[in-house]
Amino acid sequence: MTAIARPPTLDQARAVTRRGLAMSAVALVGIAGACVLALGFTPTEARQGLAQKIFYLHVPAAWSALLAFSLVGVAGALYLWLEDSRLDRFSAASAEVGVAFAAVMLTTGPIWAKPIWGTWWTWDARLTLTLFLFFLFVGYLALRAAIHDRQERARFSAVLGIMGLLLVPFVHLSVYLFRTLHPQPIVLKPSAPSLPWEMLRTLLVSTVMFTLLYVGYVTTRYGIGLAADAREHRDAD
């Protein structure tokens, strides 16, 4: 049975977007701080050089993109069970935000890869999964844009989200099998031993800030969705 919720109001939406924007702004400043940390107060990796510092942006962005994606899938599954439109509104927000972080991954990935591995692209686990996440997000948003009926859109997106979530381990497995047969020539091997504490600290700070940015972005985007729904209800009356 569908839960009947009170229709959202523009005032509610305004409050939510304001909160989201404030949080995002704080997070962006925090990320700027993390950049300062990374550039000025963290030792440079001896074999990779300065380019390695992209790591402090690429990895947290990857984490945020994966978080965004997983939550789209989980919220979708919950929606199919509970039929609460708030879950669907959240999924739409998380998917769009995920595209932004995936875009950061897809650009910083090759920019980092080129000086380290010698090529712009390698079919390693990280870059390949990035590409897939990006395509899945885009497909998800395209599907949403192509359906007008609210409930049908919510149901279909939820199904796509869940299927996308199942795809992730298969992409990993494919890449793993592929790589054990086709090891890539490497110019410089990225350092695998445990990170010195300054690097770990900077990475942690950056990750926390990126997570905060995810929350801020999603809150804002959720608020925008709330406003759209509020308008629809108001115009329908």
């Binding site: 977007t17 300065l50 950061v104 920019i111 080129k114 985007r221 608020g223």
Partner: protein, 45 residues
């Protein structure tokens, strides 16, 4: 023998600038859309 780290600072700068561009750009897009969406239009229906 210790070797100098490779001179690839340009890539680092590019990476940081692109990231800033995307994140700030998305923020501004959200800002514009948020303002537009919660504007209450007061006028004749």
């Amino acid at each position: 023998m210790p070797t100098e780290p490779p001179a690839n600072g340009g890539y680092m700068v590019a990476g940081y600038l692109v990231t800033a561009g995307i994140l700030i750009g998305y923020y501004l897009s959200l800002l514009r859309r948020a303002r537009k969406s919660v504007k209450s239009e007061k006028g004749p229906p």
